[in-house]
Amino acid sequence: MGRKITIEPVTRVEGHGKVTIQLDDAGNVTQSRLHIVEFRGFEKFVQGRPYWEAPVLVQRLCGICPVSHHLAAAKALDVIVGAGTGDGLTPVGEKMRRLMHYAQMFQSHALHFFHLASPDLLFGFDGDPATRNVIGVALLHKELAVQGVMMRKFGQELILATAGKKIHGTGAIPGGINKNLSIAERDKFLKGPDPLNADKMVEWAQGALDFFKGFHAKNKDYIDNFAVFPSAHLSLVRKDGAMDLYHGVIRCVDADGKKIINDVDYQNYYKIIGEEVKNWSYMKFPYIRKLGMDKGWYTVGPLARLNTCDFIPTPLAQKEFEIYKAYTKGKPNHMSMHMHYARLIELLHSAEVIRDLLNDKDLQKDNLVTKGKKKKEGVGLVEAPRGTLFHHYRINDLDQIEMGNLIVSTTNNNIPMNNAVNYVAKANFTGQKEITEGMMNKVEMAIRAYDPCLSCATHALGQMPLEVSLVDSDGNLLDQKRK
């Protein structure tokens, strides 16, 4: 008699998810699935809205990285208002948006590492759930917790200065931005009282990275062998192959590092990428069309970005990038837990970019908006903290949105996350009759490495408790555990 195990909800990932693991009579895992249980219907209700509402409206799918949605929508609308595809903005327009974007990348990566991932690293995945959280970190490692809080604060204040609000701002508009950065605002971040200034943020980002590297050196088995499986990796890169989180061309490398999408303009993304629908999840399953639904899946996010780019255009992060690449002898990195490593290199890169941008005098210029010949359709992509984010809009003669399509970062990672769950299930649940706290948390950890914003992936948001049910093949409940 087969059994089915259900884990729900997955906490400490932003969004709603639920895992089911099906066992056969012999106790072997026959199937494991990560279900996304929320549905919003954004694609429909955005229809009929004036196009300029999109950057403020659509970001409300996700309060975790609203800036990414804000900017991806604005970039799509840049095309529609005739301001070019990512290169047509005025210097102040482009650089204010970049500042906003890297501020978000910085605060989001800091949040993820200190609030969500560090509990697992500090307390282990078998740690007591009562302390295995950010509050536990605050109580036992106060200095680390304070750093995390202040780094997030720095990023959020910078978003406030560029977007007008810390969450759901209004700074980016079709064709540009609605304000520049005054000298007074700039100096607050460049010369702010310790620790809230750009130099300190670079120093702390380097510190967080060193902390992880120290942990890695002592826990190689845990970091290098947890949920490792080959995957293709996709991201934007700058035209010269540099890491660029705000704008670029689509590059995808296969598991061996061979380019399978070679620096393509993203306006035609829908000819390259399709999405499969399965009846057991509201989240779609993207694939590279030419490789088909079964073989065309890929991973996005920090790990992917470090696998696709040729170099990082800031000195400290580039130095770390070289060490990181040497660890896998230049080959693509497929170790799920190295996602944390890659994220922290990006944290350092973001801090460096922020410091450079703050010193750029273009930020004080006044020509905020570019206008050109209007078009009916536009696509905007950015590298959001969790990976490539696609926005696509078409408008009618009345300036109303007629079609809206999104592929959010976490959706791109749908198949990799399912693979990670499957890997962990096979390694830990085969032949098991009892489900331990540690086993359940391993499943969650595999998912959490992807930092999924499940809410925005279902064009939704939310949280999750954990329930494990054993069900036989006739659907009878054999056992149930909650925590």
């Binding site: 249980v37 549905f39 209700f45 509050i135 809080v149 009846n279 696509h392 399509n405």
Partner: protein, 182 residues
Amino acid sequence: MSKPVVATASLAGCFGCHMSLLDIDDRILQLIDLVEFNKSPDDDIKTFTKQCDIGIIEGGCCNSENVHVLKEFRKNCKILISLGECAIMGGLPAMRNGIPVKDCLEEAYLKGPTVDENKKKIIPNDEELPMILDRVYANHEIVKIDYFLPGCPPRADLIWDALVALVTGKPLNPAYETLKFD
């Protein structure tokens, strides 16, 4: 005296209200001194382990699971707060109210430019997925709500002031600039 116990949940929201709570920055360390957290997506406690004093709800109800969680909160919390636009009025997700659910599903899974190879016209319907409600409901349409904090999201200072007022038993006099509706 034991500390007041606080639980939080995000239903059909965007998590922005929870993020705004984190925007109290270093006051989070004071908050830990002031209250005890029971059930929250930011920690690993997944079911109520005791009766709570304050329940904070972000987001409204768009599916059967949201309703279930909200009722559990009402049962286990003395005071329930609707935090933010979605909890209070349905917010952005309620833009689908007035559109048949079927039309929303068809647009997302059958009509978009990247689902053209969905030849079997699959729309998610597995038994593991909670039932989508006919429309998005505000929380006070489902259970009694004691307090409402407006904003999209409510400003961190407002959340902080409200929590401190509740916990210390003092009146809440929010500053004009913290009380916003966007």
